[in-house]
């Protein structure tokens, strides 16, 4: 449950002491990027272009989409040279 229900619960000044990644910002995604690792060359271009820092690189060097923050803009799929990223309609 949200800790803040009414105006009285809120601080007077809109300040938060927790990092902003507690706010999941992916709610309005229509398409989801799906990475086909067999085509991926680990070039990191998707990671570099993601405007929302919603791709991380795992220990083996593979890109992983962070679906709590990915808004489905498709820039990673557009920039991926080996066409390893497919945009799939959310169900």
């Amino acid at each position: 449950m949200n800790a803040y229900e009414t105006e009285e619960d809120l601080p007077e000044v809109p300040v938060a002491s927790v990092p902003s990644d507690v706010i999941k910002t992916a709610g309005w995604r229509t398409f989801r990027p799906v990475i086909h690792l067999e085509a991926c060359t680990k070039c990191n271009v998707c990671w570099k272009f993601c405007p929302d820092v919603a791709i991380r690189i795992d220990e083996q060097g593979w890109p992983v989409i962070l679906l709590d923050y990915c808004k489905g803009c498709g820039i990673c799929a557009e920039e991926c040279k080996p066409l390893a990223i497919e945009m799939v309609k959310e169900g």
């Binding site: 803040y4 105006e7 007077e12 938060a16 002491s17």
Partner: protein, 394 residues
């Protein structure tokens, strides 16, 4: 108490120095420039132990002020006209972040056509930003009101930014005798430092970041309530200033010779001084006229305006700016405040003095003339130069 001969701009600089501001950030623009030039001198000479942060624009200046104030510093800036317009976005950030920034606004017309002369359009355009707005009439009032603004803005029940607006050149570059409060008196009047706001040094936190539809309205409502509380706190602040420094400027709507008056003119800024002289002249001739000086525009003194309306038959409102497609902003506010009250006197708006055109005794007298007749349109542009009969708006 030392008496000095000061320009309106220097009066504001001295007020900021007496308030012991810790951070100043500003960008020069006519006619504001000498306010911060003098403050830069105070800092350079060591008289004022503050940081003067030089920036590339008014937008950045306000951002510096917000950031420093968020960490609890007492901050000051000043601007005019286009500079204030460039700040507009950050003005909302200041009120939303609840930082008690105090800003001098030296009123100047907005281009085009380019003008450096006085006009209230620059600060009136900021009326919805959540800033407290004072309009002052003299250099003494500019100094005193700047100090009042710090105390009111920093009050724990308020915590909102405040601007002190004074007419360019009529005040900014005109010298008058000004009584400077002693440093001891100002120290007794103002807390040694503002109350803590949102952030603390060394503690990771974020200010004003994303809030969804489920709670955004509640934060706005907090600002609305704080502005209402500013009305309630102002009398206490002014009384304290009078007790310590010995001067009181009469609340948000000081009245002059309104007893038994049939017609009262509402004025802002330096036109008030002229209007006061005209009221005296007309009273000598037996006319029952009076004056109400709109000193605080935000929060708007609704109650005081309704009380005035209970006693007079006709109210005229002088605006030194115009809201295109509607009426003068003060005229609209007075109309709005009276609509919910019991008494609705005849109301007329007068637009005059735009772009620094002199508002002379004759200008004011013609307003009282129109008001007495009570005919014609709701809004009259006074002193307009036209070959044909003026097209009346409203």
């Amino acid at each position: 108490m030392p008496r000095a001969v000061l320009s309106g701009n220097s009066a504001q600089s001295y007020a900021a120095k007496l308030a012991r501001v810790q951070v100043i950030s500003a960008y020069p623009i006519t006619p504001q420039t000498t306010v911060v030039e003098k403050l830069a001198d105070f800092v350079a000479s060591g008289e004022l132990p503050a940081q003067f942060v030089k920036v590339e624009s008014e937008h950045s200046a306000m951002q510096v002020c917000i950031s420093a104030a968020s960490l609890g510093a007492r901050v000051y800036t000043a601007t005019s006209s286009q500079g204030l317009l460039l700040m507009h976005e950050l003005l909302h950030w200041a009120s939303g972040a609840r930082v008690p920034v105090v800003m001098g606004v030296v009123n100047r017309a907005i281009a085009p056509p380019l003008s450096i002369w006085t006009d209230h359009a620059d600060s009136i355009a900021q009326r919805d930003t959540g800033w407290i707005q004072f309009y002052v009439e003299s250099n003494q009032e500019a100094l005193d009101t700047t100090l009042l603004a710090f105390r009111l803005a920093e009050h724990p029940d308020v915590r909102l930014p405040a601007m002190v607006a004074g007419d360019g050149f009529y005040l900014s570059h005109t010298v008058e005798p000004v009584d400077l409060p002693t440093q001891e008196d100002v120290d007794a009047f103002l807390p040694s430092k503002p109350p803590p706001t949102g952030l603390r040094l060394g503690v990771a936190s974020r200010m004003g970041s994303y809030t969804g539809p489920e709670l955004y309205m509640e934060f706005r409502h907090k600002v609305a309530r704080a502005m209402d509380r500013a009305s309630a706190v102002l009398p206490e602040v002014e009384d304290d200033y009078e007790r310590i420094v010995g001067r009181h400027h009469g609340g948000p709507l000081p009245l002059y010779r309104v007893d038994d008056a049939d017609a009262v003119l509402v004025t802002m800024g330096t036109a008030t001084t002229t209007a006061r002289a005209v009221v005296d002249t007309l009273r000598d001739r037996g006319r029952k006229v009076g004056l109400a000086k709109l000193r605080v525009f935000r929060p708007f003194p609704v109650r005081a305006m309704r009380a005035l309306a209970a006693d007079v038959d006709r109210i005229g409102v002088l605006d030194r700016s115009f809201t295109f497609g509607a009426m003068g902003a003060a005229h609209a506010e007075v109309a709005a405040s009276l609509y919910g009250g019991r008494e609705r006197p005849l109301l007329r708006g007068f637009v005059a003095g735009l772009g620094g055109r002199d508002i002379t005794p004759a200008t004011i007298e013609s307003m009282f003339g129109s008001l007495s007749k009570g005919e014609g349109s709701e809004t009259e542009w006074v002193g307009l130069k036209r070959r044909e009969e003026v097209v009346r708006i409203g």
